[in-house]
């Protein structure tokens, strides 16, 4: 899971020295007042808690109190608030996403080794090889700080791939920006492209494709969707679970700092407020070098069979990793939070739990393998600390300075969050929009050669028809030496096996305008286009990952668009016979009340038994014939 926050937040972020800080009891109080332990919470039910500022609704807060049978401690409140945020809990989308798991035939499951719900889906591509891929959004951070936002977007999706046990082998990026001539667009475009270039190139992952689209609807809400592909041998598959009582819980990678604290919930729950100067929240700064070292370190740990379970840290940081690992495993875990290596020693326990510091991983390690584990992390100069161990208590218990500050059933944090069936409404504007066809446009006069010429030039001069080379030239597509196709081809292609030539091909597509007119058909058209782009390279499409970018789920018209899109996509996949293996939902993409066009970005991955037989999109030789297929 990567970190996704909404820019809004801005106005709610508490900065040191800010008078607002006085209200933000959760963040400030522990520095001065006594620790809010489980014991204290049990005896002070009346204490007022800033749940609303953390993005929780009154009934959600009530529910937490019911689950615990007392009020939550401030640390527990921090955990629930981030984990129950839209971004982490999928509370508005869950009821729809289930279709992806239901509308499947046995044939579609044939090659599916890991389906939805894990960090990324895994497909069996034969010859003992498996491939994992996923696309994820980093939209809001990329508007606030385009370079770091986009960079950390790449970093986050790559960690998802590593946590499956795979070696990342390629990245792609699907981008949407505002009007090309808007004064702010240059800031966003160049920052985003430079950030992706910096992080991806520095990680040594070839960029094999993507999309670039300009439309004023994305002006204050650009879309930065990053995709990563990884490969592994079947036996290297790892899952995020904490099994085996007594096994150690180990945090390794970068130190924990005050990055994007509260981002996942305070920030992701609201929409971007208009007017007034934007006060900017703390952003995460990416360190691709640290991530590159982490990749090599993890692969060596996997090769040495030194980890039982592993999870990347993204949004909701340690809150997410501990509660998810525990929920997916034996259910119990005890953590000594003081053991977390800090970059900033003044962090409070709540902040440590919520920090979104990048380039961190959490592993479950057998005690007898801990020495071996430590040897590998030392070789790679990766800082590591043992936080605690797996227990059979069914509780996630976290202590700080010797006192218990969290004692929860981890499933209530990570799995059984709220689920909403939000109201849907057919958009009031839609019939008029659909009726407004080209029929009503004036026809050129018979002698309108000049007019047609001007229109033609306008069309070919459009930013959306332009060559993307100025972007793709900033991306390394040679590194690793296995790139069989990349820009300007319709799909990227990577050789997986250097002996046999076995490879995979990936394309991403979406068209927000089609989706605005008809979200169901729009999603299917995106799927069909990505499917075709993979098929024309000579590869056989095998699976789908999707990133669903929409406005606010609290807007019934947006929710209708979402419902239509998911249904369209699920039906389309059923028809084509390929499963959705995973993906990501990004809501609250809007400026004020105006949502973006629904933009379901669909990635299709296909397999080819020998990349030498790939078909590029360019002319290869003189004298070839040209055929048009289809109608």
């Amino acid at each position: 899971m990567t970190t996704e926050t909404s820019p809004t937040a801005a106005s709610q972020t508490v900065e040191p020295g800010d008078p607002a800080a006085a209200d933000a009891e959760l963040i400030e109080a522990p520095r001065t007042a006594r620790l809010d332990t489980v014991e204290v919470a049990a005896t002070t039910p009346e204490k007022e808690q800033p749940y609303a500022a953390l993005g929780l609704k009154p009934d959600e807060y009530e529910r937490i109190r019911n689950i615990l049978g007392r009020r939550p401690t401030s640390a527990e409140l921090a955990m629930y608030s981030v984990m129950w945020s839209e971004h982490c809990s999928y509370k508005s989308s869950k009821v729809y996403l289930r279709q992806f798991g239901k509308k499947v035939t046995p044939e579609m499951k044939q090659h599916l080794m890991v389906g939805m719900g894990e960090n990324a889906g895994v497909l069996d591509i034969g010859e003992g090889w498996a491939v994992t891929f996923k696309i994820e959004s980093h939209n809001h951070p990329s508007y606030i700080e385009p370079f770091q936002g986009a960079a950390t977007g790449v970093g986050g999706i790559v960690r998802d791939i590593i946590s499956m046990g795979a070696r990342p082998v390629a990245v792609m990026d699907a981008l949407r920006f505002g009007a090309i001539d808007h004064p702010d667009t240059a800031r966003v475009v160049h920052g985003v492209v430079a950030g992706i270039s910096f992080y991806g190139n520095c990680l040594g992952l070839p960029n094999i494709g993507g999309e670039t689209w300009f439309d004023p609807v994305y002006q204050a809400n650009p879309l930065v969707n990053a995709l990563a592909v990884g490969v592994m041998r079947h036996e290297d598959l790892h899952l995020a679970n904490a099994k085996g009582t007594g096994n150690k819980v180990v945090l390794f990678g970068a130190r924990t700092g005050g990055d994007g604290i509260g981002g996942a919930s305070i920030l992701a729950s609201d929409t971007f407020a208009e007017g007034g100067p934007t006060k900017r929240p703390a952003v995460q700064v990416g360190d691709p070098f640290a991530e590159k070292v982490l990749i090599e370190c993890c692969l060596e740990l996997f090769a040495g069979d030194l980890v039982e379970g592993i999870q990347d840290l993204g949004a909701a940081g340690i809150s997410c990793a501990t509660s998810e690992l525990a929920s997916n495993g034996d259910g119990g875990m005890s953590i000594v939070l003081d053991e977390v290596l800090l970059r900033d020693p003044t962090l409070t326990p709540e902040e440590i739990l919520m920090s979104e510091s990048q380039e961190r991983m959490m592993a479950i390690v057998r005690p007898e393998k801990l020495d071996g584990f430590m040897e590998v992390v030392r070789k790679w100069d990766v800082e590591t600390s043992v936080l605690g161990e797996v227990t059979d208590t069914g509780r996630l218990s976290i202590t700080w300075r010797g006192e218990e500050i969290v004692n929860v059933d981890p499933r209530t944090v990570a799995v059984d969050g709220p689920v909403y069936e939000r109201p849907v409404a057919y958009p009031s504007y839609l019939d008029a929009l659909q009726a407004d066809t080209t029929e009503s446009l004036a026809r050129p006069a018979d002698d309108a050669g000049d007019e047609l010429r001007a229109q033609f030039l306008q069309l070919v001069g459009s930013a959306n028809q332009a060559d993307a080379a100025w972007i793709t030239n900033q991306y390394d597509h040679y590194v690793l030496g296995n790139t069989a196709l990349a820009s300007p081809d319709d799909a990227g292609m990577i050789r997986v096996d250097e002996e046999s030539g076995l490879g995979v091909s990936v394309a991403t597509d979406a068209n927000g305008r089609y989706s605005q007119l008809d979200p169901r058909a729009g999603a299917q058209l995106a799927l069909a286009e990505a499917y075709r782009n993979v098929a024309v390279t000579g590869a056989k499409p095998m699976g789908v990952s999707d990133c669903l970018n929409f406005g606010s789920p609290e807007n019934p018209e947006v929710m209708w668009q979402f419902a239509q899109s998911v249904e369209g996509l699920a039906d389309g996949c059923l028809e084509l016979g390929i499963p959705v293996t995973g993906g990501n939902v990004s809501f609250y993409n809007q400026t004020g009340d105006v949502p973006i066009h629904p933009t379901p970005v669909v990635a299709v991955l296909g397999v080819i038994d020998d990349v030498a037989r790939r078909i590029p999109s360019g002319w290869q030789d003189d004298g070839h014939n040209i055929y048009l297929l289809g109608d």
Partner: protein, 110 residues
């Protein structure tokens, strides 16, 4: 030609990968006495005319809006070339003011 120096550092609360890498290298090569490193930028601007108040206002704005990115960086110093007499005066003033090690290393003016 008159020179203005603008100093920009990564915000203290954010990760500074560069500083971290340099600190690591120093530690590995036996310079254990250096416990932390942060790396920022130092701009030298040359101006054609004299450094009057207009120029100072302009540079202060540039420093905030162009030379630094306020989301992730702080302008920690702007030094105008001054007459030596002014310099001396300022330093004497500074001598009686409080100096904070991190925010304003010796000799910083803002």
């Amino acid at each position: 030609m008159p020179t203005i120096v603008v100093e920009v550092m990564p915000k203290a609360e954010l990760l500074d990968p560069q500083g971290k890498a340099v600190a690591g290298a120093l530690a590995r090569t036996g310079h254990g006495s250096i416990s932390g490193v942060r790396v920022g930028k130092r701009f030298e601007l040359t101006v054609d005319g004299p450094i009057d108040d207009d120029v100072k206002t302009e540079v202060a704005a540039l420093a905030e809006n162009v030379l630094s990115n306020s989301v992730i960086e702080d302008v920690v110093g702007i030094h105008y070339e001054q007459s030596n007499a002014e310099l001396a005066e300022e330093a004497v003033g500074a001598a009686s003011a409080h100096h904070d090690g991190y925010d304003a290393p010796a000799g910083e003016t803002h």
